[in-house]
């Protein structure tokens, strides 16, 4: 996310999901407020579709621990978020709810080199980290999901994992 190929860094959870809407608990209703407090991106929910991949700057999801900042993207059926790094609590919240947050330390280089542009059609293999930019017919790499993160993603989050593994 950014202008002229530069990613915005340190987007905090209040910019992702404004605290005025924290009372909302229905997943279905959360999507419409995604990025609603981030200058230049207020129209995001209307423009995005299921499976879209968000490319974001360093330390995405900095700050407070609100779960809605993850759930609003699930609500929009966002495919995944790729960023050089994530806020620590944001990363935990996302992994715990089975939402794919993927790290790619070289993201800025990929964008500077023209390998990734807004609107490109890309596919990413979360197990191997192999990425394909189908628009530009280029390949790239991100950091694959680690075993634990994959386990949680596969079953849909922490609580489902606890039920499936039945460690009573």
């Amino acid at each position: 996310m950014g202008k002229k190929g530069r990613l915005i860094e340190d987007i905090d959870t209040d910019q992702i999901f404004h605290n005025a809407f924290l009372h909302i608990t229905e997943l279905r209703q959360m999507g419409q407020y995604a990025l609603g407090n981030l200058e230049g991106w207020k129209d995001f929910p209307g423009k995005t579709g299921p499976g879209d991949i968000i490319i974001a700057g360093r330390n995405f999801g900095a700050g407070s621990s609100r779960q809605q900042a993850v759930d609003c993207f699930k609500s929009l059926q966002t495919g995944m978020i790729i960023a050089p790094s994530f806020g620590a609590i944001y990363f935990r919240n996302a992994v715990n709810s089975g939402f794919p947050v993927m790290k790619c330390s070289k993201l800025a280089d990929l964008i500077a080199g023209g390998l990734l542009k807004s609107g490109d059609k890309i596919r990413v293999n979360i197990r191997t980290g192999e990425g394909q930019n189908q628009t530009r017919k280029e390949a790239f790499f991100i950091e694959p999901m680690n075993e634990v993160q994959y386990n949680l993603w596969e079953v849909g989050g922490l609580f489902s994992y606890a039920k499936k593994t039945k460690k009573d």
Binding site: R92, N146, Q149, L158, F159, A162, K163, T165, D168
Partner: protein, 416 residues
């Protein structure tokens, strides 16, 4: 390639390959929740796992410390929700009389060296003081921990910090801690396990170790460890907890992200001015700051030795007219020591208000807040705007708080 301290502890609690950056499933020795966070754990647990048991009742606890006994209806309700749940599942509650949860875990030998403990307390990493990997987490994680006895964790990188130099005589563990917070800021130790070395940290008592480790949170670190210690510390921890003290050590060829040296030569008392814990200055460099109140306590400075240091300054003196000094021991055990050693009398006679143990004075709990315009000097760990009411908070050592309360303005003990 060798292992750092955090890698060693995690290796002892997982079957997976352990290296900084890897995410592993970690076996927990203890999981706990407090009166904040605890009610959500109960709610999550009942919704997700219904009537099923917790994974191991002997390793699961509630510790009430934030608002004790409850002084708001909400806390009263929340504590009761937790009590009922604990009774139904058959595990122990350290109730409103016990004191700060992390300290109670240390005193009861539940946070042994080399063990793993999680709770809904962002200062759970205080347990690094006794060589235990303590970690604060949100209610979703803690619910999962109650159910499975495990948690996933990304093995942090480690930072090595050497402290060197001879400080001046009035330099306490809190002054050392504040100075380190100033030097590391919130970036250098961010998301890292910090290993402290050097004579000044090796010499720390158990309460001094607690002071330093508690403020690793304010450095944005994951946890702090002090692997070198005096023999007396090992025996004190053993007598306190009944557990042997075998601090894990790092291998010689362990890999660190960075090494930093901090020089404390000649330093005297330190103060963190509002509104950041990193905004640290020499007491002598402050313009005269008049104060309305003082607070001695908090998980950072609520042990007997801390209150004793304050009592040494206050004995035979009076808190200045118009200044209010609030003292909160960390635990019931500390309270008992104050009583038995006569320290309580010295504190009382100086004019201080002494409350029952807990987080009061730090959290917005049972010993009041600061009002708008009020200037307070506190032994706490955070001075963010709004953290302890609407006033302005300065952070300092127990001796500096005591001296300031006698004089009515911020000053070191040698100014008396």
């Amino acid at each position: 390639m060798g292992y750092t301290i955090i890698e060693k502890i995690i290796r002892g609690h997982t079957d997976e390959e352990v290296r900084a950056g890897e995410i592993v499933w970690l076996d927990l020795d203890v999981r706990s929740a407090r009166d904040f966070g605890g009610p959500n754990v109960v709610k999550n647990f009942c919704r997700e796992f219904g009537d099923t048991p917790v994974s191991d009742r002997s390793k699961t606890f509630f510790t009430f410390d934030l608002c004790v006994p409850a002084c708001t209806l909400q806390y009263a309700d929340n504590q009761q929700v937790c009590r009922d749940f604990a009774r139904a599942k058959g595990f122990k509650v350290f109730d409103v009389d016990e004191g700060i949860g992390s300290h109670v875990l240390i005193e009861r030998g539940l946070a042994a060296s080399g063990s793993t403990v999680v709770g809904t307390d962002s200062h759970m990493n205080i347990l690094g003081a006794v060589g235990c990997f303590g970690q604060g987490m949100g209610d979703v994680d803690i619910t999962f921990a109650f159910k499975t006895g495990k948690i996933w964790f990304q093995v942090p990188e480690s930072l090595k910090v050497f402290v060197r130099g001879e400080p001046s005589s009035g330099f306490s563990a809190k002054d050392l801690t504040l100075y380190i917070v100033k030097q590391l800021g919130t970036k250098k130790a961010a998301l890292k396990s910090v290993e402290f070395y050097g004579e000044a940290v090796r010499k720390l008592s158990i309460s001094g170790r607690i002071t330093l480790c508690s403020m690793v949170t304010e450095m944005a670190g994951i946890i702090g460890f002090i692997p070198e210690f005096k023999d007396s510390v090992a025996s004190e921890i053993k007598s306190l907890s009944g557990e042997e003290f075998n601090h894990p050590y790092a291998d010689k060829d362990a890999v660190y992200s960075d090494a930093i040296t901090i020089d404390i030569d000649g330093l005297g008392p330190q103060v963190a001015a509002p509104f950041l814990p990193t905004n640290v200055k020499d007491v002598g460099d402050l313009e005269e700051v008049k104060i309305d109140s003082g607070f001695i306590g908090c998980c950072t400075n609520g042990r007997f030795e801390d209150l004793k240091a304050a009592a040494r300054v206050l004995k035979g003196k009076k808190v200045k007219d118009g200044v209010m000094l609030k003292i909160v021991p960390a635990t019931r055990k500390v309270y008992k020591q104050l009583l038995e050693k006569g320290t309580l009398k010295d504190l009382f006679e100086s004019g201080a208000i002494i409350s029952n143990p807990g987080c009061g004075g730090c959290a917005q709990g049972h010993i009041g807040l600061t009002g708008k315009g009020e200037v307070q000097i506190s032994t706490g760990n955070r001075n963010f705007e709004g953290k302890q009411g609407k006033g302005q908070n300065y952070l300092a050592s127990p001796a500096v708080v005591a001296a300031s309360c006698i004089l009515g303005h911020i000053a070191g003990p040698e100014d008396i």
